[in-house]
Amino acid sequence: MEVPILKQGRFLIATIQAALSDADLLQLRRALIDKVIHFRSNGVIIDVTALDVMDSFATRTLRDITNMIRLRGADTVIVGIQPEVAFAMVQLGLTMEGVATALDLEEGLEHLQHRATGKS
């Protein structure tokens, strides 16, 4: 299941549509890094609203993506973590330290725009 990545000006928006296998998550990582480099993007939003579960692998992969993209000088925001998914993550002991999160796509975009204007 490939995750569609939309280009919106200097930003990229990846919207996860369904449950992802480990291979799908690694594919998303590769595709996002490629596109950030190709389009010289300075912000990325990953919308996880439709993700059923955020287990240790998903959490680590999203954190890796964020770190890799940061090395390219761009920001990443994870949006749409569902309340029950957040609850399960905390119980499991997973954290998203150093990773920006926002309630939804709109707030994620606001965050990126704020960061972009703050830099210039």
Binding site: A19, D55, A88
Partner: protein
């Protein structure tokens, strides 16, 4: 009330992890668990199935409903014939990992569920059984 069928999912690759947790969520919902509990159960299944892929290569996840004197719940068994675990107390400690992972697999799963049991024999395999009760 629908018949709640026992589920056995063969685990051979990472794609099977998704199948196992989705079937587990369906059964949990059918038993009457809330969306939050169903997500906790699906997350536990995901971690248990991942351990099978990571450490044993293949195995199976068994999921069934249980009813003991008006108490209803779900039981998940994750079984493999892999190398087994040398020191079970180590793997139940937060922060321990042998595969360079995050090292919070089993203690985390224990927190997600109500009951947790593990049996392992070197060279024979490992069986983890977890339960969650309806509240």
């Amino acid at each position: 009330m629908p018949v709640l069928q026992d589920i056995v999912v063969a685990i051979r690759s990472d794609g099977d992890i998704v199948a196992a947790r989705q079937q587990g969520r369906s059964l949990a919902t059918a038993i009457g668990f809330t969306a939050t509990d169903a997500t906790l159960i699906a997350t536990a299944i995901s971690e248990l199935a991942r351990n099978i892929v990571l450490y044993a290569g293949r195995g199976e996840v068994m999921i069934h409903s249980v009813e003991i004197s008006l108490r209803k719940g779900i039981v998940i068994g994750a079984r493999d014939s892999g190398p087994g675990i040398r020191n079970i107390e180590d793997v139940l400690r937060d922060g321990y990992s042998t595969s360079g992972g995050l090292g919070l697999g089993l203690p985390g799963v224990r927190r997600l569920m109500d009951e947790f049991a593990i049996e392992s024999e070197l060279g024979q395999g490992t069986m983890v059984t977890v339960k969650k009760w309806l509240r």
